[in-house]
Subunit: 157 residues, 2 copies
DNA sequence: TCTGAAAATGGACCTTT
DNA sequence: AAAGGTCCATTTTCAGA
């Protein structure tokens, strides 16, 4: 899909605050609210905007710990990797999982209630797969920046 | 702030889809739309919901590469660490940054347009600080799971 | 782009525990 | 008091002219 500078401006705005009314967005980018409406609808249909969500503060709902785990697998057979991916996808404590080139194979970011919960999870996610050579645990002491924003301000159409 | 099971159910719903109308949320949890409205407003005021945003697909706006960098610093002096944190916060390509205990010190997740852009960023973020002992670059081959959801379904109030 | 109908939000007010 | 429900005004969305 081709995006012009209006689309980029709208995306930049709604990825920071999706509650802004369309007429206000229109005022920012010099477009009528109807035009904004049409563009937002199309961006959603085309999948440029995946979904709109409210971000919940993990600390306030009992998940104060963020843990990053680097996982090195024993065997890179596709079916084994897929099984591991599926177990990460299915685990609600896993916020993110990346399959990476380089020394380790997976980088997994989790939020947990306490270290005991993490220990339990390592068992079900890493040991039970029988395909983890080793993993390294990094405990976040400070979540300096947490978001999923894509840089769009500088881009132009 | 104390959250009851209604709040948890609402949070679980809106962190997956914040476009659901309040009356529909109310139907799911057995509450009137006015009650849902009051609760959502309070959750936002108390900061339990940080903000509501649309998630943009990085690939569709020219940011196909996700890169994870582990940074080890030379000196852990607070003012130097703060300066580094600020440079990560200010960089739009940095989606996430965690200050971690363990071997490395920062884990940084970036989205970039191409490797050349990453190379440029390493210069400004890592070399110019004069406080990076070494860094390790992990290129994501597959973004298996990308989100910021907190596990709430099992929790009850 | 403008207009207007349908839908959603959010306040007022009253009732219940 | 705290929280729910109903009703209603205002705002927002969104399609057709």
């Amino acid at each position: 899909m081709s995006l012009d500078s209006y689309d980029i401006a709208l995306l930049a705005a709604i990825q920071q605050d999706a509650t802004t009314p369309q007429h206000a967005l229109g005022a920012q980018v010099n477009l009528s609210s109807a035009a904004v409406n049409r563009r937002l609808k199309k961006l959603a249909e085309e999948g440029v905007t995946r979904k709109t969500v409210s971000l919940v503060d993990p600390e306030q709902v009992g998940y104060p710990l963020t843990i990053i785990t680097e996982v090195e697998v024993e065997n890179e057979r596709l079916d084994l990797l897929d099984a591991m991916k599926r177990s990460f996808l299915a685990c609600p404590q896993v916020q993110q999982c990346y399959y990476v080139a380089g020394e380790c194979d997976f980088v997994v970011i989790m939020v947990v209630q306490n270290m005991a919960q993490y220990t339990t999870l390592t068992r079900s996610l890493f040991f039970e797969s029988n395909n983890v050579k080793r993993f390294k645990t990094l405990v976040s002491m400070s979540n300096v920046k947490v978001g999923l924003e894509v840089p769009l301000d500088a881009v132009a159409g």
